[in-house]
């Protein structure tokens, strides 16, 4: 954990981890017994669901819960469905969990291979919505406005994480292929890849316009990339799509490329695992793998009182169970030792202004927090720029009174915008 420097006059300088030539390829970890897939669709008893407990599934098979619904998951293993149940995700988001127990016989579902012979938007929409790295496929068929610019994000958005950089380093050809496919099937005209300086050469080989970003946090925030690199300030509260821009992770584009290259749906997710000592390890696992399988393969012991964080130290989400599965957008997992856990408090804001001076969005956080604590959301938005927040977490990180400022911000945004925005911001 990076503490305030002795000379606190200087702003804390948080740096992203940048991979170097010594970084080794991700270690593959195989699923032990079961995988758990999370579908955004909720079902209730009345719905006639398409899949049943006991059904046999093949690797790469598309599993839709309800007829006529777009939402589906892709089975990364061959086996049988052992449970289908409601699941509550982050911020109370309701989902459905599908558990598949793996059997020894590996069978691949051939439907995608058949369809992939001629790449099309239809095939992509039908089969590739659950790709490692999470590609927001629905954006491609959006009409007003059409997505014209795709920003391929080759930099990790949180500290300690090197997942996306690893993808750019190792899978530049796949990204190139992905871009080719996207050019064919969508109306996207401009492809921009954003990487740290060190990955410049790999990035150039993808054929996209290369932009490099600095290594100081939070310059990899999509909002700041837009502002500093594309010279466009997104009006507060607007989503990227509204301006014809999509930001997707490099891994998503690479997965898309691989899917058409190999004519099979990729299911291996790369992620950075950070153990209690802060050491990072890159692993490659099936989507749906329970975290505990990864921990046992890496000899990490998570005990009572420790914290398991999905995502990075600044913006991740903690989970209460090591059974939690790897999802298409899981870029990192941290196991934090109980001794490292810093507590929040219920102190009032002392108006020290540390948060104001560090906020990259220039928000008057000291005032904002007062309005959020009082649940005065309208004022928070109109007068104190709640929607300008780029969700970097720095305000909480520096708060002298240890107020969970960032949590207040996230919750109130959630309250105000509903669930959809999480998807858009997950890029």
């Amino acid at each position: 954990m990076i503490k305030k420097s002795f000379f606190g006059l200087l702003k804390p300088r948080l740096e992203y981890d940048i991979i170097d030539s010594k970084t080794t390829a991700p270690r593959e970890i195989t699923v032990s017994k079961t995988v758990q897939l999370l579908s955004n669709r909720i079902f209730d008893k009345k719905d006639s669901i398409l899949i049943q407990v006991g059904d046999e599934v093949r690797t790469g098979q598309k599993l839709s819960l309800i007829k006529g619904e777009d939402d589906y998951v892709i089975s990364p293993v061959s086996g049988a469905i052992t449970s289908i149940s409601p699941y509550t995700g982050n911020f109370g988001m309701l989902m459905t969990s599908i558990v598949i127990s793996k059997n020894s016989k590996e069978e691949t579902d051939g439907r995608f291979a058949e369809a992939a012979k001629s790449p099309s938007l239809q095939t992509t929409t039908d089969f590739l919505a659950h790709l490692p790295g999470f590609f927001p496929i629905s954006l491609l068929s959006k009409q007003t406005p059409k997505i014209k610019t795709l920003v391929i994000h080759g930099m990790d958005t949180d500290l300690l994480v090197t997942t996306r950089q690893q993808i750019v380093k190792a899978s530049a050809p796949a990204i190139k292929k992905g871009i080719q496919i996207l050019k064919e099937i969508s109306g996207i005209e401009t492809f921009i890849i954003v990487v740290p300086e060190t990955l410049f050469h790999e990035a150039v080989s993808t054929g996209a316009t290369v932009k490099t970003i600095a290594s100081n946090y939070p310059s990899a925030s999509p909002y700041l990339i837009l502002k500093n690199i594309l010279g466009m300030e997104l009006p507060a509260g607007d989503c990227f799509e509204k301006h014809g821009i999509a930001v997707v992770s490099a891994e998503a584009v690479a997965s898309l490329g691989k899917a058409y290259q190999k004519q099979e749906i990729p299911t291996q997710k790369v992620l950075t695992v950070i153990d209690k000592t802060g050491t990072q390890k890159l692993v490659s696992v099936s989507i749906g793998t329970p975290l505990k399988d990864i921990f046992s393969a890496l000899n990490i012991r998570a005990e009572d009182g420790d914290r398991i964080i999905i995502g990075g130290p600044m913006t991740g989400l903690s989970t209460y169970s090591e059974d939690h599965p790897v999802c298409p957008d899981t870029d990192a997992v941290i196991v934090q030792d109980r001794s490292m856990i810093s507590c929040v408090s219920n102190n009032a804001c002392i108006n020290c202004g540390e948060c104001v001076r560090i906020c990259p969005a220039k928000i008057q956080v000291n005032m904002l927090v007062r309005f959020l604590e009082a649940c005065l959301y309208d004022d928070a938005v109109d007068r104190y720029d709640l929607f300008s927040c780029i969700e970097c977490g720095l305000c909480s990180y520096v708060c002298t009174a240890k107020i969970p400022v960032f949590q207040y911000i996230r919750l109130s945004k959630q309250e105000l915008t509903g669930i959809q925005s999480t998807e858009a911001e997950n890029v």
């Binding site: 804390p12 502002k227 108006n351 960032f406």
Partner: protein
């Protein structure tokens, strides 16, 4: 479910820079103590007694209010102790115990707790307390009167009082070096300029107080005093350094004006606020009715703070 491990579930960020209220307040106290030591040496036992009593009663008042309001006890954050210490630094070593007790009551209860406690106070609690105290018992807080029992080997007149009463000629016996090393009368912890400056520098470098405010305070005072000597009636006004090293200027610039809750957080407002304090201090001293203007100047700028702090940068993506 029963054998499931219990992990801590909480919110991002999962890191914190390690700062805390208590660290901040204890460091400020530590730095301030440096300026109290010369006071101890000069005035001996009574000064020690006033300081200890002030800190103790400030903490007790805070605890009493916590209990009455059924809040968690907040003396652990060090703020009450800091208020007690700062108050003691500003008063003469001869202050009677009941006046100290009233002073801490005014600071903690009237200055801080009725506004909702730490962070809610629009004025510096010590400034509120000092303003009321000196209006109520002029004699106790008049350094010339209060320090009569003492005689040191330097001029025993309170420099600012002499200046007010007899003009700059009367202060020729104070050399700047003397003022700087505390060879002057005044509050227990507000006379030794060099100790205050070192403490301030330490706090600024460690990021516990904001340099913008202290710096602009002193700059504002310096420039204003200088302009007075330049354009004012010849021989009527004292020089800028005299003003900076006497009275409460330094303690005000370093420890009072920089209090978080009553000062701005944005860059330009901090400069305006600090400069305002400094300018007003000199205006009050030179043309106002009071001997020292620091307390009133800070009080007025505290009042203006919410307004000044409205000058802020445009937030990201804000469409006007």
């Amino acid at each position: 479910m029963f054998n499931q491990k219990k992990f801590i579930v909480s919110h991002a960020p999962f890191w914190h820079d390690g700062s805390s209220l208590s660290t901040k307040h204890y460091h400020i106290m530590l730095a301030a103590t440096l300026a109290v030591i010369p006071g101890f040496v000069q005035y001996g036992g009574p000064a020690v007694a006033v300081v200890c009593f002030s800190i103790a009663t400030a903490m007790i008042w805070e605890m009493i209010i916590n209990k009455i309001a059924k809040q968690p006890v907040t003396i652990g954050d060090g703020n009450a102790a800091l208020i007690g210490l700062l108050l003691a630094m500003m008063i003469p070593a001869t202050t009677p115990w009941w006046a100290v007790l009233t002073g801490t009551f005014l600071a903690i209860v009237i200055g801080k707790q009725i506004f909702g406690g730490l962070g809610g106070n629009p004025f510096h609690p010590v400034v509120v307390s000092m303003a009321i105290l000196s209006l109520s018992w002029k004699g106790i807080f008049d350094f010339n009167e209060a320090l009569l029992p003492y005689d040191f080997n330097f001029t025993m007149a309170y420099p600012l009082a002499s200046l007010k009463a007899f003009g700059p000629d009367s202060i020729s016996s104070f050399s700047i070096t003397d003022l700087l090393i505390g060879r002057q009368t005044g509050g227990i912890g507000s006379t030794c300029g060099i100790a205050l400056l070192i403490g301030g520098l330490y706090l600024i470098l460690r990021g516990f107080i904001r340099w913008e405010i202290s710096f602009s305070f002193l700059a504002g005072a310096f420039v204003t005093a200088f302009l007075f000597t330049l354009f004012g009636e010849e021989g009527k006004y004292a020089g800028p350094l005299f003003h900076i090293f006497t009275g409460y200027t330094l303690i005000g610039a370093i420890y009072l004006a920089t209090e978080d809750s009553s000062s701005p957080v944005n860059f330009i407002p901090m400069l305006l606020y600090g400069a305002g304090c400094g300018i007003m201090t000199i205006l009050i001293r030179n043309i106002g009715a009071y001997v020292d203007g620091v307390v009133l100047a800070i009080f007025l700028m505290n009042l203006a703070n919410p307004l000044i702090d409205k000058i802020r940068p445009k937030a990201l993506g804000k469409v006007a």
